[in-house]
Symmetry: C2
């Protein structure tokens, strides 16, 4: 691979610098105009530079992105959506390599250079969705790093055979196995969680659980997850996705759970849905609970919304939580960038020497301006390669 | 003025048509390829065509759009924001003709071709803000139609002299006079409302009241407004802005108020804030309550958010209300376009002969696709004039 000089960009809106990239990694950052020429020169035009966005909760296997418009149907409940998706997906060729590729390309267009994606594993598709997503990532030459959660969207215990599929997925390299509302879907919270933790420990995998259940029922399942994470020694390997209940609890109960989540090393991902209860993000930060942002599924049989723009999700998070000061707005951008590191197993994710060269250039005054306007991505470097130039996708 | 042929566009995503425009008005719509040549030809490239957006609730006088980033301050309450704005606005030269022009240009860039704007009237700026907004609209050659509400942001009765300013504004042509939380700001709901209705009746003006007060206190003020609207015979001249209380009430009380609002001919504008209670929009539609969408202030001393894109507000409305079916998504686009007519005193606002030629072209499959992605506006025609081409503002 050739070396590149990304000249004259403003990291976080600060003073202009030159960034030297070799073999896909940032090797030097110095004041603008001071770096030596490299094989390739990219003019950064003084634009705002951010680390590539990290989408910590996606479903890249189940979108109809790129196909003609699909009208939404199904009952508007979690169970209704699951059933609707299983009944209709074949009609749209879901899952497919082409579909996953289309979604990953949209992610890149919007500056996302790494993602953790849940991939449906069920009695219908088996592990085919995972193979598709791997093929799609490979087709994009690794421009976007993809970490896979084998996700039992249709339930675990209620569908005999699914546990074996999760076990196989973990054996074949899925970083995590997923879970889904152990109480309301499987009707057996202890049973589902015990089974998931057994696989995780045996295979050395992580766990990432979708928890839609609200209020006290959700809180009870947090406790079960916390207990098992501690007993199994799985700190920093367990994540709660959505977890709507936390925002809904009374302050004292909420504080107790936040502290326990932090102590157990359990992380958290949210897609900041517009009607959800705000999270106690200040308390979570103080307790060391890692928080990641995700797009959730985009344009799928669950919902027609979403275009894969994580900066717009960060803005949604900011508005949902009433963020207004400069420091608060910067925090929302941090969630979409540097704070995403643990969700894709990176030690560091920033514009510093040694980091993978994932860089997004935006025509904005500062990070706050970028957040509230979410303008188009002028240029995106992914693993050292220019994948978006002048807003146009090159891959 | 010359005549134009806007060739090959798809109104609402339907079959392609040609649109003939003369003297700023649509004179004919016919199947694509059938219209005669005109002085000017605009290639519509088969793009989706929508009527220009109508921003039914804006504050174009108080933005710092176009200036360097201004950090947000002030206590996060209505009273705190009012005080913060009055203390800080001089520092940023607010209000000014340049500021109002910058905002109106952003509206045009996003395809908004008519707006109702509240303009601060208080003891500090008097009627200067209104003069500025009129000058800004004139500087843009009427491309965007601007209807003015003289808005007592700092209170009415609690600031002796403001009533006289509102009276003068109405005498000088403001279409409506505003009000603001008669209970929580003026501490005298009956007093403020009686005074506003007296001016409105005497001057033949409308009334547009900001009502942030929630729950029962808000509901009580609706009743006062409904009673006075009926007594004064002001059907279709009174509007409630925000009116957060309505979404918060128990269903029976909510239904009662919706019916009374419809019967009294009172309309409604919302900016669909992410944390507000959803409106009973189906019931409001059934009761004939006209609903308009607005951006609220953008990038001002109240909040750093907003860029004047009403299609994004429509998407926010759709998400807040959980709209998913094609019909529901189309309704949200309708709110941003045709349903805006009464808020800017138009008989009709649609892509039909006789209507002002306000047309937005978007590269989208259909109105649902346009709503959920809110892509850039490729071309905007305002009053027959091309004001945006290839996404670039020409005025």
């Amino acid at each position: 691979m050739t070396s590149s000089l990304l000249a004259n960009v403003r990291p976080g809106g600060g003073d202009p610098v030159d960034v030297v990239i070799a073999d896909g990694v940032i090797t030097a950052v110095s004041p603008a105009g001071t770096a030596a020429d490299q094989d390739q020169r990219i003019d950064g035009r003084g634009l705002l530079a951010l680390p590539g966005f990290v989408n910590a909760h996606a479903h890249v296997d189940k979108s109809w992105w790129g196909q003609p418009w699909v009208s939404y149907g199904g009952r508007p409940t979690t169970q209704g959506r699951i059933a609707h998706e299983r009944a209709e997906r074949d009609k749209y060729g879901i899952p497919s390599v082409a579909g996953a590729t289309a979604v990953l390309r949209e992610f890149l267009r919007h500056g996302t250079t790494a993602t953790r994606t849940h991939v449906d594993v069920d009695l219908g598709v088996g592990l085919r969705g995972i193979a598709n997503v791997r093929a799609a990532a490979a087709a994009l030459d690794g421009a976007i790093e993809v970490e896979i959660v084998a996700f039992p969207q249709d339930g675990v215990l209620r569908r005999p055979g699914v546990l074996e599929l999760l076990d196989q997925a973990a054996a074949e390299g899925a970083t995590s196995i997923g879970g889904l509302d152990p109480a309301s879907i499987d009707r057996d919270p202890v049973g589902q969680l015990d089974a998931l933790f057994e696989i995780a420990v045996r295979r050395g995998a992580g766990i990432d659980i979708h928890l839609h259940d609200g209020g006290d029922l959700g809180a009870f399942q947090y406790e079960l997850i916390i207990e098992r994470t501690r007993e199994a020694g799985l700190a920093r390997k367990v994540n709660v996705s959505h977890g709507f209940a936390l925002g809904e609890l009374a302050p004292a109960r909420q504080a107790e759970l936040v502290e326990q989540l932090g102590a157990a090393g359990i992380s958290w991902t949210t897609v900041a849905p517009v009607r959800s209860a705000p999270l106690p993000w200040r308390e979570m930060r103080a307790a060391g609970v890692a928080v990641g942002l995700g797009t959730d599924g985009i344009r799928d049989l669950w919902s027609p919304y979403g275009d894969g723009d994580l900066l717009q999700v960060a803005r949604g998070f900011a508005r949902l939580h009433g963020l207004r000061t400069d420091e608060e707005l910067a925090y929302a951008v941090e969630l979409a960038t540097t704070a995403g590191a643990p969700f894709v197993h990176r030690e560091a994710h920033a514009l510093v020497p040694g980091a993978r060269a994932d860089i997004v250039l935006i025509d904005a005054e500062n990070v706050q301006d970028a957040l509230v306007r979410a303008p188009r991505r002028e240029l995106v470097v992914a693993g050292g390669q220019v994948v978006v130039d002048d807003g146009e996708l090159l891959v």
